[in-house]
């Protein structure tokens, strides 16, 4: 699947987008998997309460299943307007 990052999450992880091969069942599982890979992920994902997630461009939550999802986005709370 594609994983995309925005704002400080993108800066901390160091790339705006990447392809991730994963069997993670939920967003939380994916976060745990990435965090175990490298320190930069662990740093970006250290406080999930400061993060939001969108699945295929729809706001979702960390318990949501990933089956069939093509794009996962991680970002801080939005500041539009």
């Amino acid at each position: 699947m594609d994983v995309v990052y925005f704002a400080w999450v993108r800066e901390r992880i160091g790339v705006p987008r990447e392809q991730v091969e994963s069997e993670a069942a939920t967003v939380t599982d994916l976060v745990a998997e990435l965090s175990a890979r490298e320190e930069r992920y662990a740093a970006a994902f250290s406080d999930l309460s400061s993060l939001r997630v969108a699945l295929d461009q729809e706001l979702s939550d960390f318990e949501a299943p990933l089956a069939g999802v093509r794009e996962v986005a991680f970002f801080p709370p939005m500041t539009g307007g």
């Binding site: 995309v4 704002a7 461009q57 970002f75 500041t79 539009g80």
Partner: protein
């Protein structure tokens, strides 16, 4: 209903006139314009607005459609910019048209509250001393949604 996400600026007068010309049978049109404000301590050079292109348009359309249905709006307009903006530049505008002003005002406030917390934009402040920082979402902004 019109939703535009764009880098370039917009002509407030032309947008307001164009919006008014497209609606009929209404008694009230409300427009709101958001402007890049200087940092609290001063010294803002620019505001960089990042967004999630694949999601932004559809998120804004969903918010505008909800406002339109809820307040029986004749029409709604949302323009939101991204990219690097200088203090004083316009970031965004909304316009709502309804039979009565209460509905037009409420719908505009609703749009603003949702744009703040549910549209995928992030602001970064670039300061004169070289520092830069992401603008944090405020708890108040999230709380504002609960009134709707």
């Amino acid at each position: 209903m019109q939703v535009r996400v764009q880098q370039e600026g917009f002509d407030l007068g032309a947008e307001s006139d164009g919006f008014a010309a497209r609606v009929s049978g209404v008694g009230a049109i409300v427009t709101f314009t958001g402007v890049v404000r200087d940092a609290d301590a001063g010294g803002l050079v620019a505001m960089e607005i990042e967004h999630y292109p694949a999601m932004t348009q559809k998120a804004l359309e969903a918010i505008a459609a909800e406002a339109r249905a809820r307040w029986s709006l004749a029409d709604a307009l949302v323009i939101h910019r991204y990219g690097r903006l200088a203090p004083g530049e316009r970031i965004m505008m909304v316009a709502t048209a309804a039979r009565h002003r209460k509905h037009a005002f409420e719908a505009a406030e609703y749009l603003m509250d949702y744009l703040k917390s549910r549209a995928p934009f992030w602001k970064k402040e670039i300061l004169t001393d070289g520092r830069a920082g992401w603008v944090d979402a405020k708890a108040d902004d999230e709380d504002a949604l609960s009134r709707w």
